[in-house]
């Protein structure tokens, strides 16, 4: 398990080459090319913001924390971006071994590179999204404070979690293709069961949700992470430690599990392709 960081460091150029390949493959026949990397998250946000503003009418302020809060579309984008990173990364990671079967079957190399490289493109998307998010935030009267320093920390937790789960689903899907289908369902469920469209506080405060369900809700590490991002951005405050403790623990556990199980499965992955 300790060998992995060293091997990844040695294969860093391969990692970048694979990411570049991903980007190249994606935009090769697109007339707008890389512009889609910007348009895609914006369009998704626009659709969701439009639909929910329509449904909720003037009640969006309830979701975003009253009059002083950010506009709903900025609020939505802040959750959506970080959620999309994990969701797309996991989806990609699950397919990464299968898609690169002609590499896996012919050459011996550090297999972890494949799922990890498949997260490069979502990461790039996230980077672009964050720039848009900050621009919209500032443009609508928001402020960026020193609390931003906590953002990398929160993201590190999210990244560890994503890589851990990603490695797990990567090998598991190569062995049992069912994993891929199960993952799509889980991601769809996660989208609604995470505070993307609404703040996490709404779940507890609505009163309609029983106590045990709220507790279950908070077992989802994404709940704590997405809330933490919003605290940083919209409240200008450091997230509470209690909010991150569980996601951090889950991330460490998943990362260890992912690395360990992937290592075990890696040498014979090619037999299952």
């Amino acid at each position: 398990m300790l060998a992995l960081p060293r091997e990844l460091l040695r294969s860093r150029e391969l990692l970048f080459d694979l990411v570049r390949k991903d980007v190249r493959v994606r935009y090769r026949y697109a007339a707008l090319g890389f512009v889609w990397a910007v348009l895609e998250p914006l369009a998704l946000m626009a659709v969701l913001a439009f639909v929910f503003s329509f449904v909720l009418g003037g009640r969006t302020a309830l979701l975003t924390g009253g009059e002083g809060g950010p506009p709903y579309d900025v609020f939505l984008l802040s959750g959506l971006l970080f959620w999309q990173f994990t969701a797309v990364s996991l989806g990609n990671a699950a397919q990464s071994i299968l898609e690169n079967r002609n590499l896996v079957q012919k050459v011996a190399f550090t297999r972890e590179v494949l799922p990890i490289a498949s997260m490069g493109y979502p990461l790039l998307n996230l980077g672009i999204g964050i720039v848009i998010l900050f621009a919209l935030h500032l443009g609508t009267g928001g402020l960026l404070g020193p609390s931003l320093a906590a953002l990398p920390l929160v993201f590190a937790i999210q990244l560890a979690l994503t890589v851990g789960v990603g490695l797990f689903v990567a090998w598991a899907n190569a062995l049992y293709r069912d994993i891929g289908y199960m993952l799509s369902v889980a991601i769809l469920l996660g989208f609604y069961a995470s505070p993307v469209l609404y703040p996490a506080s709404l779940v507890a405060s609505s009163g309609a949700v029983p106590e045990w369900a709220v507790r279950c809700y908070h077992l989802n590490p994404m709940a704590g992470l997405l809330s933490a991002y919003r605290t940083i951005l919209f409240d200008g405050a450091w997230p509470e430690a209690s909010l991150l403790a569980w996601p951090a623990g889950a991330a460490v556990f998943m990362l260890a599990l992912g690395i360990f199980t992937f290592r075990r499965a890696a040498p014979t992955l090619s037999d299952h392709l």
Binding site: K21, R24, V25, Q105, K106, F109, Y176, T268
Partner: protein, 689 residues
């Protein structure tokens, strides 16, 4: 220590490949029932140990486990049980386009591919240029590879793989996609890798190429690995296995052994292979096409302990070839007879004998010949100039005795039969002695049932190399003359003068019917020695004349007299005595003129440098610190014209000539009989500053 070590390796696959299943055979229900999932052992209990520098061929039918074995050695998958240890960097060409992505350009793919082998960009930058150069697709290197043809694909993939500087090179049946030129390049490269001591594992169905590339052959059969005592036995086992047993037979006598296998003969003595892996083949030439023995369908009709008869029917010429072999002691007597099954035109019959490239010492009848070294530059077969193509006894052995020698004695039935020595390309690492029986007039129309005898060939499988060497050495000593300041030796139509570390070469050149004849192209007899005089005779088949040379050492000089004899009148436009010198010679001088040798330039090739063509009794060359060298006309000799020239850059020699040209371009007419062409003195002078 073995570089590749596989111990009791077994690889089991579930019958249903691909992702595991939960339901159905081998799935959960079976697991609950306790029924074992049916599985298939692709590789079973295989142990293989390969030493560094070995080249191992893996043959076997489809689905025999070759590729699975190779995959485990490449580290792409693990064995189910057993151990695989590979000590060294592996580059593998397991399949077309492995490690390539169709959307990326050739250049990007080279980087990506190198990354998979653990190389960083900086390492690739160093070899990128030679990769592009080797692949020969520079114009397309920045195109996405999905626009490549399969041949271009394999070119770039092969080039990238060999430039990764692997210790071990695994190749799985991909090279056949490239075109002829590229395949040759690949074979040459593989030969070089082999020469550099890289370990090669080569999987192919093409026994021919496995035979040339690999020193060792193993056979995979139903997941198991087999290896016989010799490579040929492994091949034979395989051929028997695929139901071609009827074309194989082995005869033995004492320590000698001859294996006939589908039109190819391999000779062994004391368990050592005397012939090269290409063996002895029979070829039939018709309509300008060669039909080689292995292309025929062979049947051994008589299979004795020391004798066999085999009949091969050719698929594309209506003929069958009967081969009879008889082994007695260490001698194999081989008889060959062609029978026409329908009317067709026969041009030639040939027996091609392959010997390892190490066999560099040859003897044609009495005349010794040292064959050129075969280097990676040799991408084609190349004819070797040899002393006598009408020799009936040929012997070959290696200077270092690393391979056994072979003697060949021909009793041809066809009067015009001749032998040729051909150096194989680098990878084949073989020399070929062609014994050819051309039909009179170049072609003979055969009727159904016509029989053409090739004659008999006797092979001596236990050549006494020491005796041959002795003979060669005494031959060479007999053709040397000590002239004081230099030593002169007659060598197949060339006169070699050796002095102070330099070698000059004298030849006699004749121009007739606008074609130059050079004396080394003649068939020369063994020199006869009489004190300080050597006499030698060369047959000029084109002019149908004989040259007689007399060489006399006299007061530190060498007198060289050339006479010519013909039974019918003939004509020469020009003839000369040419002296080829080292390129270090800078100046020349004749009685009326002096000059410098210019740089070698295409326009200057064999062009006289002198302006004056007045007769001169002498011409000489000198250079800084070099002994001067001079050619003079002999006392009482008719006037000769001097000339100085440069050869082409490839030959890179300075030339001095003493020549005689017909008046006003008209040829000299010679009556039938013997005439003196010229007599000159050769002399080496003191070194000049």
């Amino acid at each position: 220590m073995a570089i590749i070590e596989a111990r009791n390796v077994t690889k089991t696959f579930p019958l249903k490949r691909g992702g595991r299943v939960l339901l159905g055979r081998g799935g959960l229900p079976d697991l609950f029932r306790g029924a074992p999932a049916s599985a298939f052992n692709a590789v079973e209990e295989v142990s293989l140990s390969v030493e560094a520098g070995e080249s191992v061929g893996i043959i076997g039918g489809n689905g025999s486990g070759k590729s699975t074995l190779l995959k485990m050695l490449a580290g792409v998958t693990l064995p189910t049980s057993g151990e695989v240890e590979v000590r060294g960097r592996v580059a593998s060409l397991l399949e077309l386009g492995a490690g390539f992505h169709p959307v990326l350009t050739g250049r990007e793919n080279v980087y990506l591919n190198a990354g998979l082998y653990g190389r960083i960009h900086a390492q690739v930058d160093e070899v990128l240029e030679s990769i592009i150069e080797f692949s020969g697709i520079r114009d397309f290197i920045d195109q996405p590879v999905d626009s490549y043809s399969s041949g271009m694909y394999v070119r770039i993939a092969f080039a990238a793989a060999v430039h990764m500087d692997p210790d071990i090179f695994l190749v799985d049946e991909v090279l056949s996609v490239g075109d002829e030129a590229f395949q040759r390049k690949c074979r040459q490269k593989i030969g070089e890798l082999r020469e550099q001591g890289k370990t090669i594992l080569f999987v192919s169905h093409d026994l021919g190429i496995v035979n040339t590339v690999c020193q060792r052959v193993v056979l995979m059969s139903k997941g198991r690995l087999l290896e016989r005592r010799t490579r040929q036995e492994t091949f034979d086992f395989y051929l028997r296995q695929i139901g071609q047993a009827s074309g194989i037979h082995t005869i033995r006598s004492g320590r000698s052994e001859t294996v006939f296998s589908h039109g190819k003969l391999s000779l062994y003595h004391d368990q050592r292979e005397v012939t090269a892996p290409q063996g002895i083949l029979f070829e039939v030439f018709s309509m300008g096409q060669s039909h080689a023995g292995p292309m025929a369908d062979w049947r051994v009709t008589e299979a004795g302990d020391t004798a066999f008869t085999a009949v091969g029917s050719f698929a594309r010429v209506p003929a069958s070839l009967e081969v009879k072999g008889f082994l007695q002691g260490d001698k194999l007597e081989l008889g060959l007879c062609l029978t026409a099954e329908r009317a067709f035109d026969l041009e030639e019959l040939r027996v091609s004998i392959a010997l390892p490239a190490q066999a560099d010492q040859w003897l044609f009848d009495e005349r010794p010949h040292a064959a050129r070294m075969i280097t990676p530059e040799h991408a084609h077969r190349e004819m070797e100039t040899m002393p006598d193509s009408h020799a009936r006894r040929v012997a070959a052995w290696a200077t270092d005795e690393s391979v056994p020698g072979l003697g060949v004695e021909l009793s041809p039935a066809q009067p015009q039969s001749f032998v040729q020595l051909v150096n194989g390309e680098f990878l084949s690492a073989a020399r070929f002695l062609f014994c050819t029986a051309p039909m009179p007039g170049g072609r003979r129309s055969l009727q159904e049932g016509d029989r053409i005898e090739f004659g008999t060939v006797v092979f001596d499988l236990h050549l006494d190399a020491a005796a041959q060497r002795e003979q060669t050495e005494s031959q060479q000593a007999a053709s040397q003359l000590d002239c004081g300041a230099f030593e002169a030796a007659f060598d197949h139509g060339a006169l070699r003068l050796r002095y102070a570390g330099y070698e000059a070469e004298a030849r006699c050149l004749l121009l007739s019917d606008a074609l130059w004849t050079q004396s080394p192209g003649l068939a020369w007899s063994v020199p006869e020695r009489d004190g300080d005089t050597l006499r030698v005779r060369g047959i000029d088949r084109r002019l149908q004349a004989a040259q007689f040379w007399t060489l006399q050492a006299e007061n530190g000089r060498l007198r060289w007299t050339v006479e010519i004899e013909s039974e019918r009148p003939f004509a020469l436009q020009e003839y000369n005595a040419s002296l080829l010198l080292d390129a270090d010679y800078a100046q020349w001088a004749a009685a009326h003129e002096t000059g410098r040798f210019p740089e070698f330039a295409p326009a200057q090739e064999w062009r006289p440098l002198n302006v004056s063509h007045a007769a001169s009794e002498w011409i000489r060359a000198s250079g800084p610190g070099l002994p001067g060298i001079a050619m003079m006309q002999d006392a009482g000799e008719k006037a000769l014209l001097p000339s100085a020239l440069n050869t082409g850059a490839a030959q890179h020699r300075r030339v001095l000539q003493m020549l005689r040209r017909g008046p006003q371009g008209a040829p000299f007419a010679f009556a039938a009989g013997r005439h003196r062409l010229f007599s000159v003195m050769l002399r080496v002078l003191e070194a000049t500053e």
